[in-house]
């Protein structure tokens, strides 16, 4: 088996989730790499959008900004932010990716601040940007993140982007679209989904080299476990070859 880095595994797992003929909104970094890898492996007709307005570009190199010219290189259409976000709101966008400093058991995400005073936070992060919109409006939200018990927390300092809120039907009751919400959380240790009823985070698959104890110990809340837990398939030679030599030859993402 080839050696690989945790980030490489996470990108490969995400790339496998993005099925052909789906639409995904991505940002810069790992999500963009996952979408590019997916296009070059299983999903040649995956449509990639960027929230600033780039639609179905040919991604020759990795964008630095969600609005830079790589996102419109040989694009099918250059559009606007409201147009992209309205496509999400209308229900035409299948996947989005989110990142954040904290995530809770319902898949709610904090990317705004640490502290308890909003006007003078201890640490300010980038904030929502378009994250709250994408998490609210796309059908399925994905997250790739390293897993530790500070990041996977019982209580967020700030709920920036909605997961399943307080679980159960609370997301729909808040007015958010039904049939939307967190879909998969991809960490260095495992792949999680969410329980149908309670909407609590549930481990579906364990990555090579980890066990249940590792996963629970590196999580600040109690995880649920699927009836059948699978083993996450490691990156294939082909995936790694494309990821390392075509998608991110300079190692901007996977080199970190």
């Amino acid at each position: 088996m080839t050696d690989y880095k945790p980030m490489e595994l996470m990108i490969c797992v995400a790339a496998r989730i993005l099925e052909d003929n789906a639409i995904v909104v991505v940002g810069t970094g790992a999500p963009c790499a996952a979408a590019m890898l997916s296009q070059k492996t299983i999903s040649p007709n995956l449509t990639i959008m960027f929230e600033a307005g780039g639609v179905a570009p040919v991604l020759r190199t990795m964008p630095i900004s969600v609005g830079d010219s790589r996102t419109t290189h040989r694009a099918i259409m250059t559009s606007s932010m409201p147009d992209i976000m309205e496509s999400c709101q209308r229900g035409m966008v299948d996947y989005c990716f989110l990142g954040g400093a904290q995530i809770d058991m319902y898949g709610n995400i904090n990317s705004t601040m640490i502290g308890n005073n909003h006007a003078m936070p201890k640490t300010r992060f980038p904030g929502s940007g378009g994250a709250n919109d994408l998490a609210s409006l796309c059908h399925k939200t994905l997250m790739m993140t390293p897993q530790d018990s500070r990041r996977f927390t019982e209580k967020l300092d700030f709920l920036t982007s909605p997961g399943y809120l307080t679980g159960g039907k609370s997301r729909e009751e808040a007015g958010l679209p039904k049939d939307s919400g967190p879909y998969r959380i991809i960490t260095n240790m495992a792949i999680m989904g969410f329980d149908e009823e309670s909407k609590r985070m549930k481990v579906l698959s364990i990555n090579p080299g980890y066990d249940r104890k590792d996963i629970q110990e590196n999580c600040g809340f109690e995880l649920l476990w699927a009836d059948k837990i699978t083993d996450t398939a490691p990156p294939t030679e082909k995936e790694l070859d494309i990821l390392r030599n075509v998608v991110d030859p300079n190692g901007y993402i996977i080199g970190r």
């Binding site: 940002g27 810069t28 970094g29 960027f50 929230e51 600033a52 307005g53 020759r60 190199t61 964008p63 630095i64 900004s65 969600v66 609005g67 830079d68 010219s69 996102t71 419109t72 290189h73 250059t78 559009s79 606007s80 932010m81 409201p82 976000m85 709610n108 705004t112 909003h118 006007a119 003078m120 936070p121 201890k122 640490t123 300010r124 992060f125 980038p126 904030g127 929502s128 940007g129 378009g130 994250a131 709250n132 919109d133 609210s136 409006l137 967020l156 700030f158 709920l159 920036t160 982007s161 909605p162 809120l165 609370s170 997301r171 009751e173 808040a174 007015g175 958010l176 679209p177 901007y252």
Partner: protein, 338 residues
């Protein structure tokens, strides 16, 4: 409001932070009624535009997205002329916001994304300004700020949307929950955002302010309509005839625009889609300098206060030779230097 039975028992929430601008469409109509629609040359200078069109305390908004297609010359001049207590629409503003924060121009910010520089990292200065409480903030999202501008562009005081519901982003916003009178569906009502001043950089404009943009327009057609005073900086001034030959490509019409300035390479150090790439070395060195306040102060002075205008700033950072390199990067051309 007629509410459906099933939902009438639910409480409708309001965001608790301050709404910095007046969403009243009749007040905006009073302004727009008297805004000039004349087809006269609006050519001006950066210095004069900032002197006459930007007042201390104004609420301003900058076109483009992140460090892409930004009107750098206007942003620098706002700093040079020491405009203060500005309100700011922070819908993925990165380098533009950091220049204004460097100049301590901003006191209020509708915030969606201003602290980061996307894949490049975070701005120490922007972070400090927010963490210290120096800048009063109200939370929103990128889409929400674009819809707030769209509501204003449409001449209505609010727009319903399904963003922000159920989150702290809503709690620290100035949005209000409402219910659809037809379905009972809960929405976030987003107040219209009418900026006092907007600066937008475009590929081509004529002397009257008709504009073309190539690539993502972000929110700029709505921003141009929603704003009371609008300045366009353009890579090139082109004949009006070129608009009459291809009227489907006009994205901002002249009557939205108050001033026009030709500023070639005007998005530098940012990216201008299809023209030149961002100067990544420059942006990364800016971020690095921000970490050392003294070093940054010296750098900021040298770059902005000590340059008379945008031409001097361009020369200082490599002039035509630098731009030529950035054009090659933009167009994925190997210049044969290896």
């Amino acid at each position: 409001m007629t509410t459906s039975d099933k939902s009438s028992s639910m409480e409708l929430k309001s965001g608790k932070n301050e709404l910095f601008t007046d969403p009243n469409p009749d007040n905006a109509r009073d302004f727009f009624k008297n805004k000039s629609r004349s087809l006269k040359s609006k050519l001006s200078t950066v210095e004069n535009v900032v002197k006459t069109m930007v007042n201390d305390g104004d609420y301003i908004s900058i076109g483009g997205f992140g460090a892409n297609r930004i009107p750098t010359a206007i942003i620098h001049e706002i700093v040079r002329q020491k405009k203060k207590n500005l309100g700011f629409a922070g819908h993925t503003s990165t380098h533009d916001f950091q220049v204004l924060v460097g100049g301590e121009c901003i006191s209020k910010c509708d915030i969606a994304y201003i602290v980061g520089l996307e894949a490049r990292g975070l701005s120490a200065n922007a972070r400090k300004a927010v963490q210290s409480g120096k800048i009063q903030i109200t939370e929103w999202t990128n889409a929400v700020l674009s819809w707030r501008l769209k509501a204003a562009a449409m001449g209505i005081s609010f727009m319903p949307a399904r963003s922000m519901l159920g989150t702290d982003t809503f709690k620290y916003s100035a949005a209000k929950e409402i219910e659809c009178p037809f379905t009972g569906q809960k929405y976030a009502a987003l107040p219209a955002l009418y900026p006092d001043f907007a600066a937008i950089h475009v590929h081509e404009a004529d002397i009257y302010g008709n504009c073309r943009i190539y690539g993502a327009s972000v929110s700029d057609e709505d921003l141009a309509k929603a704003s009371k005073r609008v300045v366009i900086t353009a890579e090139r001034i082109v004949p009006t005839e070129s608009f009459r030959q291809a009227p489907s490509s006009t994205i901002i019409p002249f009557w939205c625009v108050d001033a026009v300035i030709e500023v070639p390479f005007g998005s530098y150090p940012g990216n201008m889609p299809f023209r030149y790439y961002s100067d990544e070395e420059y942006l990364m060195s800016w971020l690095k300098k921000e970490k050392n306040p003294e070093e940054f102060a010296e750098f900021f002075k040298q770059q902005i206060y000590d340059t008379k205008n945008f031409y001097e700033y361009l020369e200082l950072n490599g002039g035509i030779e630098k731009i030529t390199k950035l054009r090659a990067i933009e167009n994925l051309i190997d210049m044969g230097e290896k």
